[in-house]
């Protein structure tokens, strides 16, 4: 009896699987062309069908019949390492500003044929011809945002955040309650901003000064983290943490006591943009994909899912009023005018910064 029941259940399951598989096939889908493009993007950086969002890659396949082989990387440096190792070929990558500058300088990007990307006209002029790609030959802006300080309103005094300054991360009062970036560029960036220097300084004396400031801060820091920041701020483990504005919605969802402010000294504005690496096998398909990502409805789906600010004017128009008018995601000129974009640093400066960073991290 038991066996029979089991086989019936099994049969039902199998049937259900077949039916659901068949259901996947949508009527208006373009038949598969057999072509595949390789897309290499940050983790959690595309609308993927979760929580009722649009699955962007599936949609691309449905509209064009081209399959998307999608893989992710955790940071620019890993992406760069993978790209230079030559072990994999990608058609589309989405690095950040300074990394794009580096890739351009090292001749690792294909110039884009903009006539294949008519939707480029939807990109806000603010995000064209930026310092990392002055002639805008190699990249199409994908997302942007600023770095600010997340704070827990119940743990931080109101007057300390009213006129937010980077100084708060050096405030003895919050000893052991401060989280700090676990990567040299962002961490040095904060120290340089506090000192009033350029984020792209090549002056070793200024970097040394910043390093000393970071060493001074170390006893106050609870932990150097990247992604763990979400858990730690959600669980009120820490009171203060500098991080990216685009993650504000996720943070606020997890803990309603959290706030976000951009310090008055100014901050780093980052832009992540879509590029085609040199030697991509399917350049034209890649351009098709880039154009698709700039499609208003697709950019909108991505902006809604990822939460980072969109440079796409079409998507911005249709974005939820509440987010569109939120200073955190779309700050006014008073904040934007004080932002700086990371540029590629010369190799020796990069190395110097790395050495200083290791010193900071290993010193007791």
């Amino acid at each position: 009896m038991k066996k029979r029941l089991f086989s019936v259940i099994l049969a039902v399951c199998m049937l259900a699987a077949i039916v659901s598989l068949a259901g996947c096939k949508q009527e208006d889908a373009v038949p598969l062309t057999g072509e595949v493009i390789n897309v290499y993007n940050w983790g959690e950086y595309i609308s993927n069908g979760e929580d009722g969002s649009l699955d962007v890659n599936k949609e691309f396949t449905r509209r064009t019949g081209i399959k998307v082989n999608y893989t992710t990387y955790p940071d620019n440096e890993s992406m760069y390492a993978k790209l230079t190792s030559g072990s994999a070929d990608y058609d589309v990558i989405i690095p950040s500003d300074y990394m794009i500058a580096r890739l351009i300088e090292e001749d690792m990007l294909e110039p884009l044929n903009m006539s294949n990307i008519p939707n480029f006209s939807l990109i806000d002029d603010q995000f064209k011809g930026l310092e990392y790609d002055p002639s805008n030959k190699y990249s199409v802006a994908y997302t942007w945002g600023t770095v600010g300080i997340f704070y827990n309103k119940t743990m931080v005094d109101e007057e300390d955040v009213k006129d937010m300054s980077w100084d708060i991360l050096w405030n003895e009062k919050y000893r052991g309650q401060i989280l700090m970036f676990d990567n040299p560029r962002d961490a040095f960036g904060i120290a340089l901003l506090k000192l009033g220097y350029s984020l792209n300084t090549t002056d070793k004396a200024q970097l040394l000064e910043a390093a000393n400031l970071l060493k001074e801060q170390k006893p106050l820091v609870q932990a150097y983290v990247m992604d763990q920041i979400f858990d730690k701020m959600a669980g009120a483990e820490a009171a203060l943490a500098p991080y990216y504005s685009g993650d504000a919605l996720t943070m606020f969802d997890d803990n309603e006591d959290l706030g976000f402010a951009v310090p008055k000294e100014g901050t780093n504005r980052f832009v992540d943009a879509i590029c085609i690496p040199k030697g991509a096998k399917n350049k034209e398909l890649a351009e098709k994909y880039i154009n698709f990502l700039c499609e208003t409805d697709i950019a909108l789906a991505n902006a809604e899912y990822i939460g980072y600010s969109t440079p796409n004017t079409g998507a911005l128009e249709q974005l939820d009023e509440e987010i569109k008018n939120n200073e955190i995601f779309y700050p006014g000129d008073d904040i934007l005018s004080k932002t700086q974009i990371f540029l590629k640093l010369p190799d020796d400066i990069n190395r110097y910064m790395d050495t200083l960073w290791i010193e900071i991290k290993t010193e007791n």
Binding site: D75, E77, S78, A81, G176, D182, N183, P184, R185, K218, V221, Q222, A223, Y224, V225, Q228, D231, K232, G235, A236, E237, R351, D354, T355, W357, I358, K361, T362, E363, N364
Partner: protein, 274 residues
Amino acid sequence: MAKKKNSWLAAPFGVWMAFFTLIPLGVVVYFALTDSAGAFTFDNLLGIGQHAGTLLRSIWLGAIATVLCLILGYPVAYSISRAKGVSQQTMVMLIMLPQWMNFLLRTYAWMTLLENNGLINKFLGLIGIGPLSMINTSGAVVLGMVYNFLPFMILPLYSVMTKIDKHTIEAAQDLGANGLNVFRRVILPLSVPGIITGITMVFVPAVSTFVISKLLGGGKDMLIGDLIEMLFAGTAVNYNVGSALSLVLMILIVVCMAVMNKFDDGEETGALIA
């Protein structure tokens, strides 16, 4: 004779070793002895001195964790080895059980347990203690090491101890040895190979770990593993210095193991079982 005849059986493993151990090792040595332009240099190795503190702290924390594992693991291994058939299997199973869960996940779980608002402190708060600050300390790192590597101490000890003939112990007792003497003169010497294997299997991964110190230590007191990870995959990429550090770490571990094996002075109690 038979040995020679069957030596080809090891050939597949030999090829495997050559490709995935010897050649990579050669690459590490090459990078350690060259600069970024590929020119020969000792600078990377000579520059290790500035990381001596990190290296020593890793060895120190790894040693503490190893000793704790031995203290905790030895009695457990002994009692398992003396247990009856079925319960012995059950106990070994229980030791293995946590290993079925992903290493990273287990360490993450400890993070949420130890945090200031974590489960342990919440519980302590209910009975009016604390909160204790446990996360982001060296203690938390050692705890993570002991938790993760304890089975690697218990299992080799157990497998050596099950081979101790209980008649040997009975003989010692018949000859008038008391409990302490039986342990000191019979059980302990016979379990030395297990101790050596256990120590090696705990100490080596403990010294070179980077996940545990990152998650439980807050990335403030970097261990040598963290530093190497940072130099290869992390934010301060420098293969040459990274390779030099790896090389020095390897040499130090080999030296540690050689010193350990000296204590083994050729006991004949079976082969070391991993």
